[in-house]
């Protein structure tokens, strides 16, 4: 019964996307994907997602660190704020960013309709992944190892690089994988702030949307399959990397 429900809701529709994308044979698929606008959109999505993942890997770890090891007034409030991007509807996320960093923003900073706005929106929606992956590991981490290293004369940076980072890296990588998959598919937060300018700020998901609107469903299906393939490869690849890191840490 569970499998039946899953099939009707998710598997059969996704199979329909696969079937439609190859309707015109390999040639049709290739023509749809290699259309310059589709190509530009896919490239933008990949590059922006990569940037976002790198920023998340660094800042997400720092945020988790501060939330676990630091003490200051209002820390628990900051801690629960982290999940806000999961709870806030994506279209609202886009609108809030546009309010502050758009043409009517109070600081006079306007990034709307630029490529930076794509990165900004993706940073917003992917914020919790690395933080929430690293935080529990950091909580469990044995501090005696760090103290031992320090008493043996290791500097703070050495302790971080040799003792802490190896234990955290599986969690960081796993969080990055989730963030990347999310960034690749993101749509709602991009709609308002990026302006969806073809060849400039149009991400792959937005391109698919415009193809559906203009009734080129087959083309949309082809680009969707590429997007799906990227997500899966990323999730699989990051999963494998994380397992490798576990072995290294152990």
């Amino acid at each position: 019964m569970a499998i039946g429900y899953l099939s009707v809701i998710a598997l059969i529709p996704l199979a329909a996307v696969l079937a439609r994308s190859t309707e015109g044979g390999v040639d049709g698929f290739w023509t749809a994907v290699s259309n310059p606008q589709a190509w530009a959109a896919l490239r933008l999505t990949l590059v922006a997602s990569l940037i976002v993942v790198v920023v998340n890997a660094v800042l997400g770890t720092v945020i988790a660190w501060v939330l676990v090891r630091d003490e200051f007034a209002g820390k628990s409030a900051v801690g629960s704020l982290i999940d806000l991007p999961f709870a806030l509807p994506t279209i609202v996320a886009g609108l809030t960013l546009l309010a502050l960093y758009g043409p009517d923003g109070p600081f006079g900073v306007n990034v709307a309709f630029t490529r930076f706005s794509v990165v900004l929106a993706l940073l917003f929606v992917t914020l919790p992944f690395v933080v929430r992956a690293v935080q529990p590991v950091l909580l469990e981490l044995d501090r005696e190892m760090e103290e031992a290293a320090e008493s043996l004369g290791a500097t703070r940076t050495m302790v971080f690089r040799r003792v802490i980072l190896p234990s955290l890296s599986p969690a960081i990588i796993a969080g990055c994988g989730l963030a990347f998959a999310r960034a690749v598919g993101e749509f709602g937060s991009l709609v308002l702030i990026t302006g969806n300018l073809p060849f400039k700020t149009q991400a792959a998901s937005v391109f698919i949307f415009s193809q559906v609107e203009s009734d080129d469903v087959t083309g949309a299906a082809a680009v969707s399959v590429v997007l799906l393939a990227i997500s899966f490869m990323v999730l699989l690849g990051f999963g494998r990397l994380a397992r490798k890191a576990v072995r290294y840490a152990g």
């Binding site: 998710a10 720092v62 660190w65 939330l67 629960s80 960093y101 598919g185 559906v212 469903v217 999730l235």
Partner: protein
């Protein structure tokens, strides 16, 4: 010590610029012209209808996915069968698939030239460009949450108590209702909160299948986009504030439920 303060500064600065300030500004903008203006914006017939339709989406998707989620978690944890790993992986599909692709997938099955589109049209059933398709989209995107929250809890409680109940003469259903269900209730509750949040906020998939007919197939998130594109910023900000308040309510209940998970 200085390094610690620097890190704290970086974190608070980043979170402030990325999260707190933008969200705060939307609240400020929504109430800038007074509460009356806010109220007028959210009490128009279109806004009320959008709010109602959003509630319908939640009211259908959340119970169905909760039922499926608990059932599926039990199957995954308690039963041995071939393809269990595949089922386990398939559950997470909605996390890996772009909402737009989900919408497109539904069109390709239920739409005009979709797999069963002709049959549906002959029988006068409308799925795409109607609330039915939007409900399907909402169910799709919020599918994994309850499963993912219940599976670890089920695994942790083990089967001893269920077996004890069975030896004392309880039927499998009785054992489930009296023993298993109470033990996993916080996991289920947490999953329900996450499912609700996702269903309330869904935009991409619904946007593709709805046709965006104002006052008919427009949920609150679509209403935000519609208002914004018609330069009714007050309306867009006001509806956003309603959604943001719902999101904050979700966050609050998540925090209330989380410590109880470990019990």
């Amino acid at each position: 010590m200085r390094g610690r303060l620097a890190l704290r500064g970086i974190v608070l600065g980043y979170l402030g610029l990325l999260l707190a300030l933008p969200v705060g500004l939307v609240f400020y903008r929504a109430f800038e012209d007074g509460f009356a203006a806010f109220w007028n914006a959210v009490s128009t017939p279109e806004a009320m209808h959008a709010f109602w339709l959003t509630c319908v989406m939640v009211a259908v998707a959340v119970p169905l996915n909760t039922l499926f989620g608990v059932l599926c978690a039990v199957v995954l944890v308690r039963q041995e069968f071939r393809g269990r790993a595949a089922l386990n992986a398939a559950i997470d599909l909605p996390f890996a698939v772009s909402p737009v692709v989900i919408g497109l997938a539904l069109i390709l099955v239920y739409g005009r030239d979709g797999w069963i589109g002709d049959w549906l049209a002959e029988n006068g059933i409308r799925v795409i460009f109607s609330p039915v398709g939007m409900v399907l989209a909402t169910i799709f995107v919020s599918l994994p949450f309850v499963v993912r929250e219940v599976v670890p809890v089920l695994r942790e409680i083990g089967t001893e108590q269920e077996q004890a109940a069975a030896t004392l003469g309880a039927s499998p259903l009785q054992a489930f209702l009296r023993v298993t269900l109470p033990a996993i209730r916080w996991g289920v509750a947490y999953g329900v909160v996450l499912t609700t949040a996702r269903a309330l906020g869904e935009f991409g998939a619904i946007s593709v299948v709805s046709g965006k007919l104002s006052g008919r197939t427009e949920t609150l998130t679509l209403f935000v986009e519609n208002r914004f594109q018609r330069f009714d910023l007050t309306g867009a900000y006001a509806a956003s504030v309603v959604l943001a308040l719902l999101a904050l309510g979700t966050l609050l209940s998540m925090n209330l439920l989380r410590p109880k998970e470990g019990r």
